[in-house]
Amino acid sequence: MKSLFLLIIPFLLPLMGNDSKPLKLVGATTLQPIIEMVRNDYHAKTQIDLFTEGGGSDKGIHYLAHHKTDIAMINRYPSEEEKKRYAHAVIGHDAVAIIVHKHNPVTSISKQQLIDIYRGNITTWDQLGGKKRSIIAISKKKDRGTLYLFENATGLFHPSRTGNSDPSKKIASAVWEAGANNDNIVWVGGLPDAISYISYGNAKSAIAKGMPIKIIPLDGYYPSEETISGHTYPIIGELTLLYDKHNTEAQKFMAYMLSDEGQKAVEKNQFSRVNP
């Protein structure tokens, strides 16, 4: 099984051997599927290959700062400093959906219950009207954009986040930490006792592919076009691309993403477009 991983390499070879310099996008995995969807179309139009890499919003910013990427993909809100330093644009709106296994009898959750789960005060599903089974709570790695959105909405913080020392707000150490959104989705789909928060768009895409997960309303709100655009859903975020102000290729790509074709890809990946 181990050796099978070597077989991945051939998939990457076509990316290397292209004439035009590829455009590299690094950051939130939330945005990754959108970029991958437009890759063929963009190549056809511009002969430019798009190369994406996940790793989280923070990694995208870090790579951008160190010129290791053309564009950083983030799904958290950019900081004031970042806004000043880089050209940036919101290409879509997103929400953080609460997902559980499809067969989990729990049908809704309050923000307080969510907080209690993640700080370890609620550990079994029967406390939420489910079965008497241990909850597997799944959070995000420290550098992930979704975590920032979750932290903002709940007031909780990652256990190793410096500068915040209120222990009652700490995410419990037993909570699993996911990197890519696929981690969250597959874990919740594969483990009937799991709960996670994740990009609404990614969750809907996964559900559309048959992944056995479901989105449950948070504080009575189900993420949707209206609740997101009307800001009634408790955790909403934006899909932002950042790039060096002098990077024209990045600028061109940004323009493409804001065009109807780009926005269609945003929509197709279950996110809300910015210019309806």
Binding site: M1, K2, L4, F5, L7, I8, I9, F11, L12, T29, Q32, F51, T52, E53, G54, G55, H101, I136, W176, A178, G179, A180, N181, N182, D183, I185, V186, W187, G189, G190, L191, P192, A206, K209, G210, M211, P212, I213
Partner: protein, 483 residues
């Protein structure tokens, strides 16, 4: 009866043993069988879990290799499936908790590896793969050890079942052996008792034989064989009635259906009767027979040869009814016979005569020659009486030198007097007794019936009166009782 009780007790004891022991064995066997089934199911479950865990891994790697997230759904569904089997595993299995944890670890890290590959972070994916491989190996190692444990448990249960079956067969054999021993012992006991009984029956002085419902002889003892002159094999299984009970003593054929032994077989009543049995040589002998029913159909016959008894009876009869000295009937017998004759004469309209006789000169003989000579003389007198009379006439000695005579069916006074005169003449002839010549006479008085229509005692009295008259008129004379 005792044997029946013994058998009932033996059967109950057997039933109890079989119920308790084999009931227990059966329950234990059932329990073990259920356990075995559970183990088999667990084995199947663990195998299914093993295979599906493999599917999870394959789907995740496929997804990573083909850079296609669609296999992730298959991996998640497989994981659901795997956990479903994990739930089915016996929660008492010590390793189940660990197994769940190991599965979670395996799933967690393999998904991370896959996601990293899908994020195109290959170096990190390869790094993560090491960890996920380690977790996978740990899980599969644990699964193999659980499988081994289950197999061991299964083998233990199987060997316990085999042991149990062996034990029950041994026990069954033991029960059979004990039963055979008990039965054979009781049979020996029964046989000993039977042979003792047979010996006792054989040793009895009485003849004993058994008969079945057909009247055939089932056994016969030595005494019976000795009395009847048969050998056992000649009698056994033959009809006893036809063998030695076929005729009445007077020679008439004795019908089988009149036989008291046959009747006892029919009505199951005990009978005591006197019969006549015939020996093999055809001679007969009187027997006293007791017949009794045995069981539901058979019977037993006990008999004694009463020949001696009969003879003794005859002797006793003689003592009671005859005069010891002369052998003539005594007064008792004379009264009986006379009354019968009188009754007969009344019916037949016959005349009879009753005479009273008293010897003349007997006292002088006694006094002169002694009692012994007197006794001899009385015997000689008795013989002369009998020789002078017909067979149908009756002479009896009343005592001393007094006698009575009953003449049956007389036609006239002349005939009576002729006969009685002949008696007087006979007695008047000299007697030669032990060298002496003795001369005596007799005086006779008589009366006729029915002219003298009186009871026998009165008739004797009337004759006595007449004799007294005769004595007065001279010795050796005859007088009729005057009416």
């Amino acid at each position: 009866m005792k044997n029946k009780n013994f058998l009932i007790r033996l059967i109950s004891a057997n039933t109890l043993i079989l119920l308790i022991v084999f009931g227990t064995f059966y329950s234990v066997f059932n329990f073990l069988n259920t356990q075995l089934n559970t183990i088999l199911k667990q084995r199947q479950t663990i195998n299914a879990f093993y295979n599906i865990s493999n599917d999870v891994a394959i789907n995740l790697y496929r997804s990573a290799m083909l850079d296609d997230s669609k296999y992730l759904t298959a991996a998640a569904l497989s994981s659901n499936h795997a956990l479903f089997y994990l739930e089915k595993l016996d929660q008492n299995l010590l390793l189940t908790q660990t197994l769940q944890k190991d599965y979670h670890d395996f799933f967690r890290y393999t998904v991370i590896t896959t996601s990293l590959a899908l994020e195109h972070r290959l170096n990190e994916a390869n790094e993560a793969n090491r960890l996920s491989q380690h977790k996978q190996q740990k899980l599969f190692k644990l699964l193999r050890s659980i499988r081994l444990n289950i197999e061991k448990k299964q083998n233990r249960v199987i060997s316990t079942i085999e042991m149990l079956m062996f034990l029950s067969s041994v026990l069954l054999i033991l029960v059979v052996i004990i039963n055979i021993k008990l039965l054979s012992r009781s049979l020996t006991l029964i046989r000993t008792k039977e042979s003792e009984q047979a010996e006792m029956i054989n040793a009895l002085g009485d003849g004993v034989y058994g008969i079945d419902d057909q009247g055939n002889c089932t056994f016969i003892n030595q005494s019976a064989l000795a009395m009847l002159g048969f050998k056992a094999e000649e009698v056994l299984n033959h009809n006893q009635h036809l063998m030695f009970h076929h005729h009445y003593p007077d020679g008439k054929i004795y019908l089988h259906t009149d036989c008291p032994i046959y009747l006892t077989l029919k009505d199951r009543q005990v009978r005591h009767v006197q019969e006549t049995f015939f020996r093999k040589d055809g001679s007969s002998f009187p027997v006293s027979v007791t017949t009794a029913p045995v069981g539901d159909k058979n019977g037993i016959v006990v008999f004694q040869d009463i020949t001696t008894l009969k003879e003794e009876h005859t002797i006793l009869d003689r003592f009671a009814n005859y005069d010891n000295l002369t052998g003539l009937p005594n007064r008792r017998l004379f009264m009986i016979l006379a009354e019968q004759t009188v009754a007969q004469a009344e019916r037949n309209d016959n005349d009879i005569a009753v005479a009273f006789l008293d010897l003349d000169g007997f006292k002088q003989v006694n006094d002169t020659y002694g009692h012994e000579v007197g006794d001899h003389l009385l015997r000689a007198v008795a013989q002369r009486f009998e020789s002078a009379l017909r067979k149908s006439d009756i002479v009896a000695r009343l005592g001393g030198d007094e006698f009575v005579i009953l003449l049956d069916t007389v036609s006239s006074v002349e005939e009576v007097e002729h006969t009685l005169n002949r008696v007087i003449q006979e007695i008047a002839r000299p007697f030669h007794i032990v060298g002496f010549t003795l001369q005596i006479g007799v005086s006779i008085g008589y009366t006729l019936f029915p002219e003298d229509n009186q009871p026998v005692a009165t008739l004797i009295q009337h004759a006595d009166n007449a004799m007294y008259e005769a004595k007065k008129s001279g010795k050796g004379s005859l007088r009729r009782f005057p009416l």
